[in-house]
Symmetry: C4
């Protein structure tokens, strides 16, 4: 049995529980079908992350079934869940953790409306204030890239580095989201589908009213700094 010392083991246990539980949010909001979609979370203080097993039903996602990987995406042998294969998107998650040290959580889904924008390779314009709050501007499109090497991970990192958005729509594929932790990345996955749906519906009925960049900036700054009870924001709250 591989062991990492008591402090890291506690952190692993917490991330396993979070990642297992947070998959329930993907089904609650209808972002996934069957065994699709995956959530991962970085283990604070270690070069490790926890991810969903491949092709396993959402009803079986207990903490001990989650899989512990190193930052190359290799399963840590002798740990709970290690007898199973990790999500087929593990390489993309690992690439993000290796290259974006501020990221503590990654989520991937094929949620309907976000994937529809991705199938056209079209970024989602920022025309609702909730989108300015959460993403600070449009949701960008990432390159076409298929499973098998680092190209998906590289596409995510290149698109999101220096971008306010925590969500990228990989062309012809679907959304990947990042966050300070797994919960924050799941929130971004929920919100990107919500704005993808609202803006899709708004635009099919007529011309959209843009929001001025200055207003977008003010909304984004305010939301990142003062909204909520200061537990999920990417930056520390002001007090």
């Amino acid at each position: 049995m591989t062991s990492f010392g008591p402090q890291i083991e506690v952190a692993i246990a917490r991330v396993r529980a979070d990642v297992a539980r947070l998959h329930g949010e993907l089904t609650r909001y209808g972002l996934v079908v069957w065994t699709g979609g995956n959530v991962s979370g970085r283990v604070p203080g270690a070069d490790l992350f926890v991810i969903k097993p491949s092709g396993v039903s959402y009803d079986e996602l207990a903490p001990e079934n989650m899989i512990l990987c190193d930052l190359d995406g290799a399963v840590i042998p002798g740990t709970p869940g290690s007898e199973r294969a990790p999500s087929s998107d593990t390489a993309a998650h690992a690439y993000v953790y290796r290259n974006m040290p501020e990221v503590g959580g990654v989520v991937h889904t094929h949620s309907t409306y976000a994937t529809a924008w991705a199938a056209r390779g079209e970024e989602i314009p920022c025309v609702i204030t909730a989108m300015a709050d959460e993403f600070g501007g449009p949701i960008p499109i990432g390159p076409f890239a298929i499973i098998g090497d680092d190209s998906i991970g590289r596409g995510i990192v290149e698109t999101l580095t220096g971008h306010r958005s925590r969500a990228v729509l990989m062309q012809n594929h679907g959304p990947f989201t990042i966050g300070a932790n797994a919960k924050d990345a799941v929130k971004a996955a929920v919100m990107v589908e919500d704005v993808a749906r609202t803006v899709h519906l708004a635009r099919e009925a007529g011309p959209l009213i843009p929001i001025a960049q200055e207003a977008i900036d003010r909304l984004y700054d305010r939301y990142q700094n003062v909204y909520g009870q200061s537990i999920d924001s990417r930056r520390p709250a002001p007090n």
Copy 2:
């Protein structure tokens, strides 16, 4: 511990319970995601209202977590929930209570179809009888206004004062609804999304048949006076 005398305390307890419970209607009807949306209710007989805390999960909305505010939107210290920040929309709710004394409840969501109309700045035409019943005509658009001062509250009040509609679509933002009490405002939030969806779908498939103003007036008058068991209407039922 702040206290308001036994009668007001009973009223506060009742509004806390109502407001907490009514948030469940927002999730039941799919009007909100994550921690978005908020319901408030005026405390009858006092210059107080009860509102949801900011950024807290819908699973944790017990009565004692609701926050008691004065009509300037300031949290009443030493009351249950006062250790948390109130909804980031509290200033808008407070402005409505200060300026529309007949209003006993306010609801805000980013419900999908209503927000889609708001992103185009387009009022919803009254082409179904249920809409004539409930809103007495079109659902109006309010101005673009962002969080940070009274401009959202002022936009709501200016749009709805003297208007039959209990719902306003704030441009690029989403619906705010008012009512005789919190339940009535929640009903308006549910109904505005319902009509926003139906009219959106109707219109995308071809031209709508208008309803004559005279018929709208008769439907609205009848519904406000005789529908239901006379507990939620804005005016006393004829009995």
Copy 3:
């Protein structure tokens, strides 16, 4: 306490239970919001029907809250539920029972897609085999008519008399459905929304392929005669 003799009382109790329970199908399939929509059922062997009270929550629809009416829509005094007002659509249900003796159940909703067709006053063309099975052709539009006299009931009866369809879309209003009993009418309400949605979506993406009348006739005849376990069909099964 009004009494109708033991046999009729047993029948009333059964219809009360059916009508109360069947309202749950309206919420299960998302056909109604808040207190909207209503189901009624004729009491076999008596000039009576049972209907939902007006403006009462779907969580409170127990059999003893259902309201017993005569075929003029007058509440039978001294019976369970008679202290409440019946559905505001009671007059329309009563008109149907008086004028269509073969009808044992009536349902009304404002279900989204069916109401969208109604807002354009456009019948739903029969382009899917499930619709040929269930309705035998297009779903017709009924006249614009508002609450207050017999005009809604008359519009339903005039449109459906001699028509295969058990559903009519009342213009600018929504669907009414009829059936051999309350369950059969509820099934028609579920199916009319289902076909309204499918045909709406089909048509917005391109031209529909019509089904030949001869094929529609064969599908309808077969389904009415042999489908299912012979408990819900309008006509007796062949053996």
Copy 4:
């Protein structure tokens, strides 16, 4: 009581349980309404399959209510459930089992978006990677055929033989899916509706970006061979 020897009886019991349980996936994903839709599963090692009874509520689909048929679709007398009529689509299922020996499960629904494509007789283009993974290309259209002889079964078999897709959209009717077993066919039914919806929405908003055939081939090969925990794939996993 008909008996098939202990080994076959064990297999029958397992397929009954699977088929009964898997109907719950059709309602979970909203693919069916009322009593519509049906799942069947072949009994390994015997010329038998298990299918849903006709016109029975999804709440009553216990294993002992499922119906055992031979490969001509005739009910095996004296077995549990044999007092009921099997699904009205039994002849089509039987035709598939007789003519496609590799097929172990068949599913039929009228799921909304898939049926909408079927009403236009238009195949679903392969523009999302999940579709390349699962179906290896477009979802084909089958001929118009109505119940009453072998034409539906023949249409399914002729369309899917030699095709990568496990789903066919029967024109003006709806999807039929096949799989290595009942679960695999249900997965295909869930996925075909998911891609039908996503591609419908994508295309109504603008031009789609095609995926190169070479990329589709690589995605399909990889997914069929390495995805998941090697329990549902049509072909044996590589190790």
